[in-house]
């Protein structure tokens, strides 16, 4: 069985999903249960491997706690941060920001992507424009945003929105362009107007691509958020790890980094993957 070990950084939406029935390994009896256990194992295995390597490097090279802290010590610090109420507060601040940013990026990005994809010249005119903004990362906007909006939540929101919206617009646009004309024509010959086309053809037809855009957008937005928090100093995971550097609290830095990564994984698995399963895979547009 090919375990999708290090491929998790591939563009979202194409994460290889393990097959349920593996040839040569008959699983008698309660198959659904063992299948989901297997799935969970495959998901967790590379993470466990990472922890093992981390601990191995620490003890093998005899690194002092000023350079690298052991996984166990990091876990203890994390527990302590939770106990003190710092981690829950900072996590909820960060999660709230990314949720708002992602929601705004969707609400604004999808209609813009649709409009550009549907107009004859829109896509051609705006493509270089979009590519330009794809190259100027959200973080590069932070200095300007700070000048305009100060060290505030607005600055962070602007940067998240900008970062997340570009892939959403781009992928929506491509998704619409890939819909065969015949779907549109068949609705028109049944008397369907513009609204029908958007609702019944363009939106569902572009959905596979929109979900990819959202996954990328939230991933990029999450990074921009951490950078934004570091620069503005507002409470959040970015600030947690950045402030910890002052007193060489490597355990706190590492704990924060782990939380950042794990939270994104959870968001991706719990929110975006189910959306995909319920729509795109059920329609057979993308192979499960």
């Amino acid at each position: 069985m090919k375990a999708p070990t290090t491929r998790t950084t591939r563009p979202a939406g194409q994460t290889p999903r393990p097959e349920r029935s593996v040839a040569g390994v008959p699983v008698p009896g309660r198959r659904p249960v063992s299948a989901s256990v297997r799935q969970a194992l495959i998901f967790v295995a590379p993470l466990i491997a990472l922890v093992v390597v981390w601990g191995g490097v620490k003890s093998l090279f005899g690194l002092s706690d000023d350079v690298l802290v052991s996984p166990a010590a990091t876990a203890r610090t994390a527990v302590e941060l939770v106990r003190l109420g710092i981690l829950p507060r900072y996590v909820s601040e960060s999660l709230w920001r990314i949720t708002l940013g992602a929601a705004l990026a969707t609400v604004l990005g999808v209609p813009i992507g649709l409009a550009l994809g549907l107009s004859r010249y829109g896509a051609r005119m705006f493509e270089p424009f979009l590519r330009f903004f794809q190259a100027v990362s959200g973080i590069a906007w932070l200095p300007l945003a700070i000048v305009w909006f100060g060290f505030t939540d607005v600055t962070i929101q602007v940067v998240i929105l900008y970062t997340a919206m570009v892939p959403v617009v781009f992928n929506t646009l491509i998704g619409v362009q890939l819909i065969p004309d015949i779907y549109q024509e068949s609705i028109q010959t049944m008397g369907g107007g513009r609204l029908r086309l958007v609702r019944d053809v363009y939106l569902p037809g572009a959905l596979p691509s929109i979900v990819v855009g959202l996954r990328l957008g939230i991933g990029y937005g999450w990074r921009a958020l951490i950078a934004g928090e570091i620069l503005t100093g507002l409470p959040g995971l970015g600030t947690l790890i950045f402030e910890a550097r002052r007193f060489h609290q490597i355990d706190q830095i590492l704990a924060g980094m782990v939380v950042i990564g794990v939270l994104y994984l959870i968001a991706d698995r719990m929110v975006l993957a189910p959306v995909e399963r319920l729509t795109v895979q059920r329609w057979g547009v993308v192979r499960a």
Partner: protein, 277 residues
Amino acid sequence: MRVPERAAARQAPDGDERPRIVVERLSHSYVNPQTGESVHALDDVSLSIEEHECVTVVGPSGCGKSTLLKAIAGLVRPTAGTITSGGREVRGPARDRGVVFQELAILPWRTVRRNIGHGLEIQKVPRREREERIAYFVDLMGLRGFEDHYPHELSGGMKQRVAVARTWAADPDVILMDEPFAAVDAQTRLTLQEELLRISLTESKTMLFITHNVEEAVFLGDRVVVLSRRPGRIKEIVPVPVPRDQRDLGALSDSGNRSAGVAAVIDSVLKLVRAEV
């Protein structure tokens, strides 16, 4: 099963014998976007289709058959000539002219039921009546038990049945079919042709059917239009003397039980088409 009678109400009053579709001096040229070449697809085509008549069109590949259909559907704006449907000039697609496309045009994200009911949904037909009509066409097209399946779970032949049912269920006055069975296997094709003949007799409609299969054209049509090589011109219109309700699949198989009248028409149309290839 009660056939919900909707078409009857819209039938032309007695005495009005204007043809349902009138194509006058239609010509069409376009520039092929890939090659940049100018293509003269249709040249001076005039054709009338009577109410409840089924006209089939045959001709060599690339003779403009599909262009003719798309122009009548309103999906292509012809370079010259006029088309009227029910006395009104065709300016774009509208629901009086339903189309069954050659490619699979049913929506992958709708179940069989919701695909078939799509036209009715657009027309805001109340749910109960919609369900009734869907059930009727599900039965008629042999799709019972697959109502809640998505298209990707169906075979090619079944998908095309859904497409036919969808167009029929929307109850247009005219049904335009563009080689709807070209992509299905020979066996399924025979079944679909027979089903189409049956459905066209129970639910009387004006039909235009494009095909490159001469047997199919003769089997399904009241008249067979033979188009020339590009630019497509009408070479001849051959009437089929055997009424549609007296035909059976024998007309399509190679065995000897074709009725003599149908066989003779197939032969003469074949000769006309062969001269063009």
